[in-house]
Symmetry: C2
Subunit: 333 residues, 2 copies
């Protein structure tokens, strides 16, 4: 295992300490409890928006805490759900009196723990609505999930919903927007290499020198199929076609497109995939109106990529374009 770490058991806390030092202007980090909270939380009369999940997917979710996006994030151990107590503490910390939205990726552990946290919050008279993202078209029911997994859409949803919450919209409306974005978004990913969880010390799976894994989630869990490595054009086609079909995207529609790196893939390759994605969509007269290319939801040092498309309308574009100021996404201020 070759990593820039000290002891495996200290990885998350030391990374949080680093994050706290780099972004002291934006976030407060409770390193013991593992909670990242927006500096000015709770914002009075604003819906608090929180998310969380295993570590190892950076910059998700902690990198999205700040103005116009999340109010708090609670990272678990690497590839392990945070516990209900963390989520409850985050919920309390961002409760400005207008209720709290929990954004939960559909992985069994996360869903269960967020449910328990929501019950605990309700017992303290904090109104919580949970929405579960499930955008991964690769598989129905997989290693860690019943139903579709929640992946790339989660990041884009956090941006759009965070912008709406920033306007002072009520909890029901913020939750409706979250459901809308999830319904109109789909993703699919692939891996060229596995990754190694520090505490495990060995790769989560093995891939031959000429193989790739199609339809991975974000933990290196098995996907649709293992296949012989092909070129970028064919890979982009393999990932994009099921998304277009499932979303029933039609000529004349417009999308927000993300080409996401899994952590170990250089930007030059992600731009090549984007070039292929654009060609495919142009061939179907679908316009990429907004886009994002880079490492946004990762699996440690895994090489590979995922593609996410969200059907856009004017309202979603407005909230996508609204100012955001977080460690990992920033524009407009």
């Amino acid at each position: 295992m070759k990593k820039l770490i000290n002891k495996p058991e200290d990885v998350v806390k030391e990374a949080l300490a680093g994050m706290a030092a780099v972004h002291a202007d934006l976030i407060n980090v409770d390193i013991e409890q593992q909670i990242i909270v927006r500096k000015d939380a709770p914002v009075k009369n604003k819906v608090g928006v929180i998310s969380g999940g295993g570590s190892g997917h950076e910059p998700m979710h902690g990198g999205y805490v700040g103005y116009g996006m999340l109010d708090a994030a609670c990272p678990g151990a690497v590839f392990t759900s945070p516990v209900p107590d963390q989520m409850l503490a985050a919920t309390r910390a961002v409760n400005g009196g207008a209720g709290v939205l929990h954004i939960v990726k559909n992985y069994t552990g996360d869903v269960m723990n967020f449910e328990m946290a929501a019950e605990l919050a309700a017992a303290e008279d904090i109104e919580v609505v949970s929405i579960v993202t499930n955008d991964d078209v690769a598989v129905q029911d997989s290693l860690y999930t019943a139903g579709r997994r929640g992946v790339g859409v989660t990041v884009l949803l956090e941006k759009i919903v965070g912008a709406l919450a920033e306007t002072g919209a009520p909890l029901a409306q913020v939750a409706d927007m979250a459901r809308q974005v999830n319904n109109h978004g789909r993703s699919m990913g692939m891996a060229l290499t596995a990754c190694t969880v520090p505490a495990a010390g060995k790769p989560t799976f093995e891939l031959g020198e000429d193989e790739m894994e199609i339809g991975i989630g974000i933990h290196g869990e098995p996907g649709r199929r293992r296949a012989k490595l092909v070129g970028a054009a064919e890979i982009a086609e393999t990932l994009t076609t099921p998304i277009i079909d499932d979303l029933e995207l039609k000529a004349g529609e417009q999308v927000l497109a993300m080409v996401n790196g899994m952590g170990g893939t250089p930007l030059i390759e992600l731009y090549i995939i984007f070039n292929e994605l654009e060609r495919i969509l142009k061939g179907k007269s679908i316009s990429i109106t907004r886009s994002l290319v880079g490492n946004y939801i990762t699996s440690l040092e895994m090489a590979g990529c995922s593609i996410t498309l969200i059907r856009l309308n004017d309202e979603l574009i407005k909230y996508w374009d609204a100012p955001v100021h977080t460690p990992a996404l920033r524009w407009g201020r």
Copy 2:
């Protein structure tokens, strides 16, 4: 070789096409000539600021073209200097009548070609000043360079100098600022793994499962020494001590600190290195006043990191904080 590419010979042009599609609001890309130019270039009466070098270091330099940073970038083939004709075309494209600054990393090929481009520009009555960055404390005279290599400082210098140029400052002043930043900045890097140039198809060097290379440049060229892999604390110490010594940083001084990933290292590890860097500097009463953590000057998919420190003063902080709007760095607008 496992990469998200089509034919190795098409990597740079296809990545440029992807970049052009993603960032059409910011840049114009001449894919044939391999030149990335700021959308509103030439800006009348503003010093044009350009840089260039081999591809494979993304987001450098193309990702830094835009308001408040570079006016143009000319990427060569992977790990290969661009040619003088490219540099000349970029120089022409950004000449708004106030002259052009060439920012050149000290690699023999780049220096030679930029010199020739400057002569060609002079023959067309375009005033050019070249400044050469040479911040790498790891080695004197290495595989591709006489003297120190130009590495991480180049990125930070492009930001600071670009902000000054945006104010309408004259060429001599912009060049002076560039020299000042270079003189007050130093870097050192290390690799956990090698990387593979697409056209070569095999790794640039071999490293054992328990080895690391200390003092690499940005092409996987040999460094100071090969050593047994150690923990993040010791790695940070090994990289930081020569920088502090060489800069003669003293208690009470303040720095801009960059922890840069080489392309294949996940963000969670870079935050751990930053945490160690902060501990080391705090121990010497040196303050990190500004910082940047992420993949900014890379070597394809190499795993590893580099640390860059620049001694700050109020003027440098002012230009660092000034708005910037490029594909890879954005704040304040």
